[in-house]
Protein backbone atom coordinates (compact mmCIF):
# COMPACT_ATOMS: atom_id res chain seq x y z
CA UNK A 1 0.00 0.00 0.00
CA UNK A 2 1.17 3.42 -0.95
CA UNK A 3 2.30 5.59 1.89
CA UNK A 4 0.40 8.79 2.52
CA UNK A 5 3.37 10.84 3.63
CA UNK A 6 4.14 11.90 0.08
CA UNK A 7 0.96 13.93 0.07
CA UNK A 8 2.11 15.98 3.01
CA UNK A 9 4.21 18.33 0.91
CA UNK A 10 1.19 19.30 -1.15
CA UNK A 11 -0.85 20.16 1.87
CA UNK A 12 -2.44 23.56 1.72
CA UNK A 13 -3.97 25.29 4.66
CA UNK A 14 -7.62 25.89 4.13
CA UNK A 15 -10.24 27.10 6.56
CA UNK A 16 -12.02 24.14 8.12
CA UNK A 17 -15.63 24.42 7.20
CA UNK A 18 -16.80 22.04 9.88
CA UNK A 19 -15.70 24.21 12.72
CA UNK A 20 -18.99 26.08 12.54
CA UNK A 21 -20.74 23.37 14.57
CA UNK A 22 -18.63 23.72 17.69
CA UNK A 23 -15.66 25.96 17.12
CA UNK A 24 -14.07 25.76 20.59
CA UNK A 25 -13.57 21.99 20.80
CA UNK A 26 -10.82 20.37 18.76
CA UNK A 27 -12.33 17.70 16.52
CA UNK A 28 -11.67 14.04 17.26
CA UNK A 29 -11.57 13.00 13.61
CA UNK A 30 -10.74 15.63 11.07
CA UNK A 31 -10.68 15.63 7.28
CA UNK A 32 -8.82 18.57 5.79
CA UNK A 33 -9.28 19.39 2.12
CA UNK A 34 -9.39 15.69 1.39
CA UNK A 35 -9.57 14.46 -2.20
CA UNK A 36 -9.39 10.99 -3.67
CA UNK A 37 -8.66 10.22 -7.28
CA UNK A 38 -8.95 6.73 -8.71
CA UNK A 39 -7.06 5.79 -11.84
CA UNK A 40 -9.37 3.88 -14.17
CA UNK A 41 -9.20 2.70 -17.77
CA UNK A 42 -11.32 5.72 -18.73
CA UNK A 43 -8.90 8.13 -17.08
CA UNK A 44 -8.74 9.43 -13.52
CA UNK A 45 -12.01 9.63 -11.59
CA UNK A 46 -12.37 12.11 -8.79
CA UNK A 47 -14.28 10.25 -6.07
CA UNK A 48 -13.91 12.85 -3.33
CA UNK A 49 -13.26 16.53 -3.77
CA UNK A 50 -12.14 18.90 -1.07
CA UNK A 51 -13.78 17.30 1.95
CA UNK A 52 -13.19 19.32 5.11
CA UNK A 53 -15.09 18.36 8.21
CA UNK A 54 -14.40 17.61 11.83
CA UNK A 55 -16.15 15.07 14.00
CA UNK A 56 -16.46 15.79 17.70
CA UNK A 57 -15.63 13.16 20.25
CA UNK A 58 -18.67 10.95 21.03
CA UNK A 59 -20.55 12.40 18.11
CA UNK A 60 -22.79 10.23 15.96
CA UNK A 61 -22.03 11.55 12.50
CA UNK A 62 -23.75 10.22 9.41
CA UNK A 63 -22.63 10.63 5.84
CA UNK A 64 -25.48 10.39 3.41
CA UNK A 65 -25.38 10.47 -0.34
CA UNK A 66 -26.17 8.65 -3.54
CA UNK A 67 -24.26 5.57 -4.65
CA UNK A 68 -20.88 6.48 -6.08
CA UNK A 69 -20.51 9.73 -4.17
CA UNK A 70 -17.37 8.40 -2.48
CA UNK A 71 -18.81 8.01 1.00
CA UNK A 72 -17.44 4.48 1.38
CA UNK A 73 -14.07 5.76 0.18
CA UNK A 74 -14.24 8.41 2.86
CA UNK A 75 -14.74 5.75 5.51
CA UNK A 76 -11.86 3.69 4.15
CA UNK A 77 -9.62 6.75 4.32
CA UNK A 78 -10.83 7.46 7.85
CA UNK A 79 -9.84 3.91 8.78
CA UNK A 80 -6.41 4.43 7.27
CA UNK A 81 -7.06 1.57 4.86
CA UNK A 82 -6.88 3.79 1.77
CA UNK A 83 -4.48 6.68 1.26
CA UNK A 84 -5.89 10.06 0.34
CA UNK A 85 -4.79 11.57 -2.97
CA UNK A 86 -4.69 15.04 -1.51
CA UNK A 87 -5.28 16.60 1.87
CA UNK A 88 -5.14 14.79 5.16
CA UNK A 89 -7.02 12.98 7.89
CA UNK A 90 -6.10 13.20 11.52
CA UNK A 91 -7.35 11.66 14.72
CA UNK A 92 -6.88 13.77 17.83
CA UNK A 93 -4.38 15.86 15.94
CA UNK A 94 -2.36 12.84 14.78
CA UNK A 95 -2.13 12.28 11.04
CA UNK A 96 -3.18 8.87 9.79
CA UNK A 97 -0.48 7.13 7.77
CA UNK A 98 -1.27 3.48 8.41
CA UNK A 99 -4.35 1.34 9.06
CA UNK A 100 -5.93 2.47 12.32
CA UNK A 101 -6.26 -0.19 14.97
CA UNK A 102 -8.23 1.98 17.40
CA UNK A 103 -11.46 1.40 15.50
CA UNK A 104 -14.18 -1.17 15.02
CA UNK A 105 -15.41 -1.54 11.46
CA UNK A 106 -18.75 -2.86 10.24
CA UNK A 107 -19.11 -3.32 6.50
CA UNK A 108 -22.29 -3.72 4.49
CA UNK A 109 -21.61 -7.46 4.34
CA UNK A 110 -20.98 -9.16 7.66
CA UNK A 111 -17.60 -10.49 6.39
CA UNK A 112 -17.58 -13.40 8.83
CA UNK A 113 -15.13 -16.27 8.57
CA UNK A 114 -17.26 -19.22 7.50
CA UNK A 115 -15.16 -21.71 9.44
CA UNK A 116 -15.57 -19.96 12.76
CA UNK A 117 -18.63 -19.87 15.01
CA UNK A 118 -20.34 -16.61 15.94
CA UNK A 119 -18.25 -16.54 19.12
CA UNK A 120 -15.12 -17.54 17.20
CA UNK A 121 -15.62 -14.69 14.77
CA UNK A 122 -16.00 -12.17 17.59
CA UNK A 123 -12.97 -13.63 19.37
CA UNK A 124 -10.82 -13.17 16.27
CA UNK A 125 -10.65 -9.50 17.19
CA UNK A 126 -9.51 -10.43 20.70
CA UNK A 127 -6.97 -12.96 19.41
CA UNK A 128 -5.50 -10.46 16.96
CA UNK A 129 -5.11 -7.92 19.78
CA UNK A 130 -3.89 -10.55 22.25
CA UNK A 131 -6.56 -9.58 24.77
CA UNK A 132 -7.05 -11.70 27.85
CA UNK A 133 -9.05 -14.64 26.60
CA UNK A 134 -11.37 -15.18 29.54
CA UNK A 135 -12.20 -11.50 29.89
CA UNK A 136 -12.75 -11.11 26.15
CA UNK A 137 -15.04 -14.10 26.09
CA UNK A 138 -17.10 -12.66 28.92
CA UNK A 139 -17.38 -9.42 26.98
CA UNK A 140 -18.32 -11.35 23.83
CA UNK A 141 -21.16 -13.08 25.66
CA UNK A 142 -22.33 -9.71 27.02
CA UNK A 143 -22.38 -8.28 23.52
CA UNK A 144 -24.15 -11.31 22.05
CA UNK A 145 -26.70 -10.95 24.81
CA UNK A 146 -27.20 -7.26 24.14
CA UNK A 147 -28.02 -7.83 20.47
CA UNK A 148 -30.30 -10.78 21.17
CA UNK A 149 -27.99 -13.55 20.01
CA UNK A 150 -27.83 -15.51 23.26
CA UNK A 151 -27.83 -19.21 22.43
CA UNK A 152 -26.40 -18.66 18.96
CA UNK A 153 -22.75 -18.28 20.01
CA UNK A 154 -21.79 -21.74 18.71
CA UNK A 155 -23.64 -21.44 15.41
CA UNK A 156 -21.71 -21.05 12.21
CA UNK A 157 -22.43 -18.15 9.83
CA UNK A 158 -24.32 -20.37 7.37
CA UNK A 159 -26.69 -21.31 10.18
CA UNK A 160 -27.57 -17.67 10.90
CA UNK A 161 -29.88 -15.27 9.09
CA UNK A 162 -28.51 -12.16 7.38
CA UNK A 163 -29.57 -9.95 10.29
CA UNK A 164 -27.96 -12.28 12.83
CA UNK A 165 -24.73 -12.36 10.86
CA UNK A 166 -24.61 -8.58 10.82
CA UNK A 167 -25.18 -8.55 14.59
CA UNK A 168 -22.20 -10.85 15.02
CA UNK A 169 -20.19 -8.48 12.86
CA UNK A 170 -21.25 -5.57 15.10
CA UNK A 171 -20.22 -7.52 18.22
CA UNK A 172 -16.84 -8.21 16.64
CA UNK A 173 -16.40 -4.48 16.02
CA UNK A 174 -17.17 -3.70 19.68
CA UNK A 175 -15.39 -6.38 21.73
CA UNK A 176 -12.22 -4.32 22.15
CA UNK A 177 -14.19 -1.23 23.20
CA UNK A 178 -12.82 0.94 20.39
CA UNK A 179 -13.07 4.72 20.80
CA UNK A 180 -14.40 4.96 17.25
CA UNK A 181 -16.87 2.83 15.34
CA UNK A 182 -16.89 3.02 11.55
CA UNK A 183 -19.96 1.66 9.82
CA UNK A 184 -20.33 1.42 6.07
CA UNK A 185 -24.00 0.98 5.17
CA UNK A 186 -24.27 -1.71 7.82
CA UNK A 187 -27.99 -2.29 7.32
CA UNK A 188 -28.05 -1.93 3.54
CA UNK A 189 -28.58 -5.62 2.83
CA UNK A 190 -31.21 -6.27 5.51
CA UNK A 191 -35.00 -6.31 5.50
CA UNK A 192 -36.93 -3.32 6.87
CA UNK A 193 -37.89 -4.82 10.25
CA UNK A 194 -34.38 -6.10 10.95
CA UNK A 195 -33.07 -2.66 10.05
CA UNK A 196 -35.42 -1.00 12.53
CA UNK A 197 -34.29 -3.36 15.27
CA UNK A 198 -30.60 -2.91 14.52
CA UNK A 199 -30.97 0.87 14.37
CA UNK A 200 -32.47 0.73 17.86
CA UNK A 201 -29.70 -1.61 19.01
CA UNK A 202 -27.01 0.68 17.65
CA UNK A 203 -28.57 3.70 19.32
CA UNK A 204 -28.60 1.89 22.66
CA UNK A 205 -25.02 0.63 22.28
CA UNK A 206 -23.85 4.11 21.32
CA UNK A 207 -25.73 5.61 24.22
CA UNK A 208 -24.10 3.21 26.67
CA UNK A 209 -20.57 3.34 25.33
CA UNK A 210 -20.49 6.88 23.94
CA UNK A 211 -18.23 5.95 21.09
CA UNK A 212 -17.52 8.31 18.25
CA UNK A 213 -19.48 6.82 15.38
CA UNK A 214 -19.00 7.51 11.69
CA UNK A 215 -21.98 6.07 9.90
CA UNK A 216 -22.27 5.77 6.13
CA UNK A 217 -25.80 5.33 4.81
CA UNK A 218 -28.14 6.10 1.96
CA UNK A 219 -31.21 5.89 4.12
CA UNK A 220 -32.53 9.34 5.05
CA UNK A 221 -34.70 8.27 8.03
CA UNK A 222 -31.89 6.08 9.38
CA UNK A 223 -29.44 8.97 9.28
CA UNK A 224 -31.91 11.36 10.95
CA UNK A 225 -32.88 8.81 13.58
CA UNK A 226 -29.36 8.02 14.71
CA UNK A 227 -27.29 11.12 14.14
CA UNK A 228 -26.19 14.22 15.89
CA UNK A 229 -25.25 15.61 12.51
CA UNK A 230 -25.87 14.44 8.96
CA UNK A 231 -23.50 15.29 6.16
CA UNK A 232 -25.25 15.25 2.80
CA UNK A 233 -22.90 14.59 -0.11
CA UNK A 234 -23.28 15.63 -3.73
CA UNK A 235 -23.11 13.07 -6.54
CA UNK A 236 -19.66 12.39 -7.99
CA UNK A 237 -17.31 14.03 -7.42
CA UNK A 238 -18.31 13.73 -3.76
CA UNK A 239 -18.38 17.08 -2.02
CA UNK A 240 -20.04 18.12 1.19
CA UNK A 241 -23.35 19.63 0.18
CA UNK A 242 -24.81 20.47 3.55
CA UNK A 243 -24.22 19.67 7.19
CA UNK A 244 -27.47 19.29 9.09
CA UNK A 245 -27.68 19.32 12.88
CA UNK A 246 -30.33 16.90 14.12
CA UNK A 247 -31.72 18.50 17.20
CA UNK A 248 -34.01 15.76 18.49
CA UNK A 249 -34.19 14.50 22.07
CA UNK A 250 -32.52 11.19 22.93
CA UNK A 251 -33.14 8.35 23.20
CA UNK A 252 -35.12 8.49 20.01
CA UNK A 253 -38.10 6.20 19.63
CA UNK A 254 -39.78 4.64 16.65
CA UNK A 255 -42.87 6.73 17.29
CA UNK A 256 -40.74 9.84 17.03
CA UNK A 257 -40.36 9.13 13.33
CA UNK A 258 -43.87 10.51 12.78
CA UNK A 259 -43.30 13.78 14.64
CA UNK A 260 -43.21 17.00 12.59
CA UNK A 261 -39.61 17.66 13.72
CA UNK A 262 -38.40 14.31 12.45
CA UNK A 263 -40.27 14.50 9.17
CA UNK A 264 -39.04 18.08 8.83
CA UNK A 265 -35.43 16.85 8.82
CA UNK A 266 -36.36 14.12 6.35
CA UNK A 267 -37.98 16.73 4.12
CA UNK A 268 -34.97 19.01 4.34
CA UNK A 269 -32.61 16.25 3.20
CA UNK A 270 -34.98 15.04 0.49
CA UNK A 271 -35.26 18.59 -0.83
CA UNK A 272 -31.48 18.75 -1.03
CA UNK A 273 -31.34 15.46 -2.93
CA UNK A 274 -34.11 16.70 -5.24
CA UNK A 275 -32.30 19.95 -5.85
CA UNK A 276 -29.12 18.08 -6.80
CA UNK A 277 -30.96 15.78 -9.17
CA UNK A 278 -30.21 12.70 -7.05
CA UNK A 279 -33.96 12.22 -6.80
CA UNK A 280 -36.43 13.26 -9.47
CA UNK A 281 -40.16 13.50 -8.87
CA UNK A 282 -41.14 13.93 -12.50
Amino acid sequence: MQRMNSVATELRTLPVEASRSEPEEAPYLEFRDLSKIYATDDGPVRALDGISIGQRKREFLSILGPSGCGKSTLLMIAAGLLPASHGQVSVQGQRIGAPRTDVGIVFQNPVLLEWRTALGNIMLQAEARKLDRAAAERRAYELLDSVGLRGFEHKFPDQLSGGMRQRVSICRALIHNPPQLLMDEPFGALDALTRDQLVLDIQRIWNESRMTVLFITHSVPEAVFLSDRVIVMTPRPGRIDEVIDIDLPRPRTLAMRETPEFTGYNRQILDLLLARGVLRER
Binding site: P99, F107, V111, W115, A128, D158
Partner: protein, 295 residues
Protein backbone atom coordinates in the same frame (compact mmCIF):
# COMPACT_ATOMS: atom_id res chain seq x y z
CA UNK B 1 -43.26 -33.72 -0.40
CA UNK B 2 -45.12 -31.29 -2.62
CA UNK B 3 -46.74 -34.19 -4.32
CA UNK B 4 -48.00 -35.66 -1.04
CA UNK B 5 -49.51 -32.34 0.01
CA UNK B 6 -51.18 -32.00 -3.34
CA UNK B 7 -52.81 -35.38 -3.01
CA UNK B 8 -54.11 -34.70 0.48
CA UNK B 9 -55.56 -31.39 -0.72
CA UNK B 10 -57.48 -33.10 -3.45
CA UNK B 11 -58.89 -35.99 -1.52
CA UNK B 12 -59.10 -34.09 1.77
CA UNK B 13 -59.05 -37.01 4.23
CA UNK B 14 -57.69 -34.91 7.12
CA UNK B 15 -60.89 -33.16 8.14
CA UNK B 16 -61.49 -35.31 11.17
CA UNK B 17 -57.90 -34.98 12.41
CA UNK B 18 -56.72 -32.32 14.84
CA UNK B 19 -53.84 -30.11 13.75
CA UNK B 20 -51.51 -31.95 16.18
CA UNK B 21 -52.46 -35.26 14.65
CA UNK B 22 -51.77 -33.91 11.19
CA UNK B 23 -48.37 -32.68 12.41
CA UNK B 24 -47.54 -36.07 13.89
CA UNK B 25 -48.55 -37.79 10.70
CA UNK B 26 -46.48 -35.41 8.58
CA UNK B 27 -43.49 -36.09 10.81
CA UNK B 28 -43.85 -39.85 10.32
CA UNK B 29 -44.31 -39.36 6.60
CA UNK B 30 -41.22 -37.23 6.33
CA UNK B 31 -39.10 -39.73 8.30
CA UNK B 32 -40.35 -42.53 6.06
CA UNK B 33 -39.58 -40.46 3.00
CA UNK B 34 -36.04 -39.73 4.19
CA UNK B 35 -35.20 -43.33 5.05
CA UNK B 36 -36.61 -44.34 1.68
CA UNK B 37 -34.27 -41.82 0.02
CA UNK B 38 -31.29 -43.17 1.90
CA UNK B 39 -32.06 -46.75 0.90
CA UNK B 40 -32.58 -45.70 -2.72
CA UNK B 41 -29.22 -43.94 -2.80
CA UNK B 42 -27.51 -47.27 -2.11
CA UNK B 43 -29.97 -49.68 -3.68
CA UNK B 44 -30.34 -48.13 -7.14
CA UNK B 45 -26.68 -48.10 -8.19
CA UNK B 46 -26.07 -51.53 -6.65
CA UNK B 47 -29.10 -52.99 -8.39
CA UNK B 48 -28.01 -51.49 -11.71
CA UNK B 49 -24.53 -52.90 -11.22
CA UNK B 50 -25.85 -56.37 -10.41
CA UNK B 51 -28.20 -56.16 -13.38
CA UNK B 52 -25.34 -55.34 -15.77
CA UNK B 53 -23.17 -58.14 -14.37
CA UNK B 54 -26.00 -60.70 -14.68
CA UNK B 55 -26.77 -59.51 -18.21
CA UNK B 56 -23.09 -59.77 -19.08
CA UNK B 57 -22.77 -63.28 -17.64
CA UNK B 58 -25.93 -64.49 -19.40
CA UNK B 59 -25.05 -62.74 -22.68
CA UNK B 60 -21.51 -64.10 -22.84
CA UNK B 61 -22.72 -67.65 -22.14
CA UNK B 62 -25.76 -67.45 -24.45
CA UNK B 63 -23.76 -66.24 -27.44
CA UNK B 64 -20.76 -68.40 -26.59
CA UNK B 65 -18.29 -65.47 -26.66
CA UNK B 66 -14.69 -66.71 -26.30
CA UNK B 67 -13.23 -65.74 -22.94
CA UNK B 68 -10.22 -63.91 -24.47
CA UNK B 69 -12.72 -61.44 -25.95
CA UNK B 70 -15.05 -61.03 -23.00
CA UNK B 71 -14.75 -63.36 -20.02
CA UNK B 72 -17.91 -63.88 -17.95
CA UNK B 73 -17.85 -62.11 -14.57
CA UNK B 74 -17.75 -65.43 -12.77
CA UNK B 75 -14.46 -66.24 -14.48
CA UNK B 76 -13.04 -62.82 -13.56
CA UNK B 77 -13.95 -63.43 -9.93
CA UNK B 78 -12.39 -66.88 -10.11
CA UNK B 79 -9.20 -65.34 -11.54
CA UNK B 80 -9.04 -62.76 -8.75
CA UNK B 81 -9.45 -65.49 -6.15
CA UNK B 82 -6.86 -67.67 -7.85
CA UNK B 83 -4.28 -64.88 -8.31
CA UNK B 84 -5.12 -62.76 -5.28
CA UNK B 85 -1.50 -62.55 -4.14
CA UNK B 86 -0.34 -61.37 -7.57
CA UNK B 87 -3.11 -58.77 -7.79
CA UNK B 88 -2.50 -57.56 -4.25
CA UNK B 89 1.27 -57.32 -4.70
CA UNK B 90 0.92 -55.31 -7.91
CA UNK B 91 -1.75 -53.10 -6.36
CA UNK B 92 0.66 -52.32 -3.54
CA UNK B 93 3.45 -51.40 -5.98
CA UNK B 94 1.18 -49.05 -7.91
CA UNK B 95 -0.19 -47.54 -4.70
CA UNK B 96 3.32 -46.70 -3.52
CA UNK B 97 4.09 -45.03 -6.86
CA UNK B 98 0.84 -43.06 -6.77
CA UNK B 99 1.30 -41.90 -3.19
CA UNK B 100 4.92 -40.85 -3.71
CA UNK B 101 4.05 -38.95 -6.90
CA UNK B 102 1.01 -37.39 -5.24
CA UNK B 103 2.90 -36.33 -2.11
CA UNK B 104 5.64 -34.86 -4.30
CA UNK B 105 3.05 -32.88 -6.26
CA UNK B 106 1.68 -31.47 -2.98
CA UNK B 107 5.12 -30.71 -1.57
CA UNK B 108 6.11 -28.91 -4.78
CA UNK B 109 2.71 -27.60 -5.90
CA UNK B 110 1.53 -25.88 -2.71
CA UNK B 111 4.71 -23.82 -2.06
CA UNK B 112 4.85 -22.97 -5.76
CA UNK B 113 1.30 -21.66 -5.52
CA UNK B 114 2.25 -19.63 -2.42
CA UNK B 115 5.07 -18.10 -4.44
CA UNK B 116 2.81 -17.38 -7.39
CA UNK B 117 0.36 -15.71 -5.06
CA UNK B 118 2.89 -13.70 -3.08
CA UNK B 119 5.27 -12.43 -5.75
CA UNK B 120 3.65 -11.06 -8.91
CA UNK B 121 7.00 -11.07 -10.74
CA UNK B 122 7.45 -14.75 -9.91
CA UNK B 123 3.91 -15.42 -11.07
CA UNK B 124 4.53 -13.66 -14.39
CA UNK B 125 7.69 -15.70 -14.91
CA UNK B 126 6.53 -19.11 -13.80
CA UNK B 127 2.87 -19.23 -14.73
CA UNK B 128 3.24 -19.00 -18.54
CA UNK B 129 5.94 -21.70 -18.44
CA UNK B 130 3.75 -23.85 -16.23
CA UNK B 131 0.73 -23.48 -18.47
CA UNK B 132 2.65 -24.18 -21.67
CA UNK B 133 4.30 -27.19 -20.01
CA UNK B 134 0.81 -28.59 -19.58
CA UNK B 135 0.42 -28.69 -23.34
CA UNK B 136 3.05 -31.45 -23.48
CA UNK B 137 1.31 -34.82 -23.13
CA UNK B 138 2.76 -36.48 -20.05
CA UNK B 139 2.35 -39.85 -21.71
CA UNK B 140 4.86 -38.70 -24.34
CA UNK B 141 7.43 -37.78 -21.68
CA UNK B 142 7.28 -41.22 -20.06
CA UNK B 143 9.68 -42.86 -22.56
CA UNK B 144 12.18 -40.06 -21.98
CA UNK B 145 11.98 -40.59 -18.22
CA UNK B 146 12.58 -44.26 -18.85
CA UNK B 147 15.81 -43.39 -20.70
CA UNK B 148 16.93 -41.10 -17.92
CA UNK B 149 15.87 -43.01 -14.83
CA UNK B 150 15.57 -46.65 -15.90
CA UNK B 151 12.89 -49.19 -15.09
CA UNK B 152 12.64 -48.62 -11.37
CA UNK B 153 10.22 -46.77 -9.14
CA UNK B 154 11.41 -43.25 -9.93
CA UNK B 155 10.10 -42.73 -13.51
CA UNK B 156 6.58 -43.86 -12.49
CA UNK B 157 6.61 -41.52 -9.50
CA UNK B 158 7.77 -38.73 -11.77
CA UNK B 159 5.00 -39.26 -14.33
CA UNK B 160 2.43 -39.35 -11.53
CA UNK B 161 3.94 -36.17 -10.08
CA UNK B 162 4.09 -34.33 -13.42
CA UNK B 163 0.49 -35.09 -14.21
CA UNK B 164 -0.86 -34.38 -10.72
CA UNK B 165 0.86 -31.22 -9.59
CA UNK B 166 -0.63 -28.69 -12.03
CA UNK B 167 -4.22 -28.72 -10.69
CA UNK B 168 -2.82 -28.35 -7.16
CA UNK B 169 -0.82 -25.26 -8.13
CA UNK B 170 -3.71 -23.63 -9.94
CA UNK B 171 -6.40 -24.34 -7.37
CA UNK B 172 -4.17 -23.33 -4.46
CA UNK B 173 -3.13 -20.06 -6.10
CA UNK B 174 -6.73 -19.34 -7.10
CA UNK B 175 -7.95 -20.12 -3.59
CA UNK B 176 -5.42 -17.78 -2.01
CA UNK B 177 -6.26 -14.99 -4.44
CA UNK B 178 -10.03 -15.24 -4.16
CA UNK B 179 -10.92 -13.57 -0.90
CA UNK B 180 -13.24 -10.70 -0.08
CA UNK B 181 -11.02 -7.61 0.29
CA UNK B 182 -13.03 -6.67 3.38
CA UNK B 183 -11.62 -9.69 5.21
CA UNK B 184 -8.13 -8.36 4.66
CA UNK B 185 -9.18 -4.83 5.63
CA UNK B 186 -10.64 -6.18 8.86
CA UNK B 187 -7.43 -8.05 9.62
CA UNK B 188 -5.47 -4.82 9.17
CA UNK B 189 -7.79 -2.84 11.41
CA UNK B 190 -7.34 -5.55 14.05
CA UNK B 191 -3.59 -5.10 13.81
CA UNK B 192 -3.15 -8.66 12.60
CA UNK B 193 0.30 -9.15 11.05
CA UNK B 194 0.94 -10.48 7.57
CA UNK B 195 1.84 -13.99 8.72
CA UNK B 196 -1.10 -14.25 11.09
CA UNK B 197 -3.45 -12.91 8.40
CA UNK B 198 -2.19 -15.59 6.05
CA UNK B 199 -2.62 -18.48 8.45
CA UNK B 200 -5.73 -17.29 10.27
CA UNK B 201 -7.67 -15.93 7.31
CA UNK B 202 -6.27 -16.42 3.84
CA UNK B 203 -5.20 -20.06 4.06
CA UNK B 204 -8.38 -21.40 5.71
CA UNK B 205 -10.33 -19.32 3.21
CA UNK B 206 -8.46 -21.11 0.40
CA UNK B 207 -8.89 -24.65 1.76
CA UNK B 208 -12.05 -25.57 -0.18
CA UNK B 209 -10.35 -24.55 -3.40
CA UNK B 210 -7.11 -26.35 -2.47
CA UNK B 211 -9.02 -29.56 -1.80
CA UNK B 212 -10.85 -29.26 -5.10
CA UNK B 213 -7.42 -29.39 -6.75
CA UNK B 214 -6.23 -32.21 -4.49
CA UNK B 215 -9.22 -34.34 -5.48
CA UNK B 216 -8.64 -33.83 -9.18
CA UNK B 217 -4.95 -34.59 -8.70
CA UNK B 218 -5.36 -37.92 -6.93
CA UNK B 219 -7.25 -39.35 -9.91
CA UNK B 220 -4.58 -37.97 -12.25
CA UNK B 221 -1.78 -39.48 -10.14
CA UNK B 222 -3.37 -42.92 -10.66
CA UNK B 223 -3.32 -42.35 -14.43
CA UNK B 224 0.30 -41.18 -14.27
CA UNK B 225 1.57 -44.22 -12.35
CA UNK B 226 -0.21 -46.66 -14.66
CA UNK B 227 1.12 -44.89 -17.76
CA UNK B 228 4.62 -45.07 -16.28
CA UNK B 229 4.22 -48.81 -15.81
CA UNK B 230 2.89 -49.24 -19.33
CA UNK B 231 5.97 -47.65 -20.81
CA UNK B 232 8.55 -49.54 -18.86
CA UNK B 233 7.59 -51.41 -15.73
CA UNK B 234 8.67 -54.51 -13.90
CA UNK B 235 5.77 -54.55 -11.48
CA UNK B 236 2.50 -52.83 -10.71
CA UNK B 237 -1.04 -53.03 -12.00
CA UNK B 238 -0.13 -51.29 -15.28
CA UNK B 239 2.62 -53.84 -15.82
CA UNK B 240 0.23 -56.67 -14.94
CA UNK B 241 -2.24 -55.35 -17.51
CA UNK B 242 0.46 -55.33 -20.19
CA UNK B 243 1.52 -58.89 -19.34
CA UNK B 244 -2.07 -60.12 -19.27
CA UNK B 245 -2.68 -58.42 -22.58
CA UNK B 246 0.41 -60.00 -24.13
CA UNK B 247 -0.64 -63.48 -23.10
CA UNK B 248 -4.29 -62.92 -24.11
CA UNK B 249 -5.25 -63.52 -20.46
CA UNK B 250 -8.33 -61.33 -20.63
CA UNK B 251 -9.76 -62.50 -17.26
CA UNK B 252 -6.57 -61.27 -15.57
CA UNK B 253 -6.89 -58.02 -17.53
CA UNK B 254 -10.32 -57.53 -16.05
CA UNK B 255 -9.01 -58.46 -12.62
CA UNK B 256 -6.41 -55.69 -13.00
CA UNK B 257 -9.05 -53.18 -14.10
CA UNK B 258 -11.20 -54.01 -11.10
CA UNK B 259 -8.21 -53.62 -8.78
CA UNK B 260 -7.42 -50.23 -10.36
CA UNK B 261 -11.01 -49.07 -9.96
CA UNK B 262 -11.19 -50.06 -6.31
CA UNK B 263 -7.80 -48.46 -5.69
CA UNK B 264 -8.83 -45.22 -7.41
CA UNK B 265 -12.06 -44.96 -5.44
CA UNK B 266 -10.28 -45.76 -2.17
CA UNK B 267 -7.61 -43.09 -2.74
CA UNK B 268 -10.23 -40.51 -3.67
CA UNK B 269 -12.18 -41.38 -0.53
CA UNK B 270 -8.97 -40.90 1.46
CA UNK B 271 -8.57 -37.35 0.12
CA UNK B 272 -12.23 -36.63 0.81
CA UNK B 273 -11.75 -37.84 4.35
CA UNK B 274 -8.73 -35.55 4.75
CA UNK B 275 -10.85 -32.71 3.41
CA UNK B 276 -13.54 -33.49 5.93
CA UNK B 277 -10.94 -33.31 8.71
CA UNK B 278 -9.48 -30.03 7.43
CA UNK B 279 -12.83 -28.37 6.71
CA UNK B 280 -15.37 -29.78 9.15
CA UNK B 281 -17.90 -27.24 7.96
CA UNK B 282 -17.94 -26.83 4.24
CA UNK B 283 -20.35 -24.19 3.07
CA UNK B 284 -19.75 -22.40 -0.19
CA UNK B 285 -16.63 -23.80 -1.77
CA UNK B 286 -14.50 -21.28 -3.55
CA UNK B 287 -14.38 -22.35 -7.14
CA UNK B 288 -10.90 -22.66 -8.51
CA UNK B 289 -10.53 -20.99 -11.85
CA UNK B 290 -7.49 -20.42 -13.96
CA UNK B 291 -8.75 -16.92 -14.63
CA UNK B 292 -8.54 -15.70 -11.07
CA UNK B 293 -4.83 -16.53 -10.98
CA UNK B 294 -3.78 -15.18 -14.34
CA UNK B 295 -6.19 -12.24 -14.39
Amino acid sequence: MANATGTSLRTDPDEHLSIEEVEAREKVRRARHQSHDRIAAVLYPVATMVGVIVLWEVGVRAFDVPSFLAPPPSQVVATIIEHWQLVLRNTWVTTVEIMLGYLASIVVGVPLAFGIFMWPAFSRTVLPLLISSQAIPKVAIAPLLLVWFGFGLLPKVLVAFLIAFFPIVISTAAGLASIEPEKIYLARSMGLGATATFFKIRLPNALPSIFAGLKISITLAVVGAVVGEFVGGEAGLGYMLMVANGSMDTPLLFAGLIALTIQGVALYALVEWAEHLAIPRRSTAATATLQSVTG
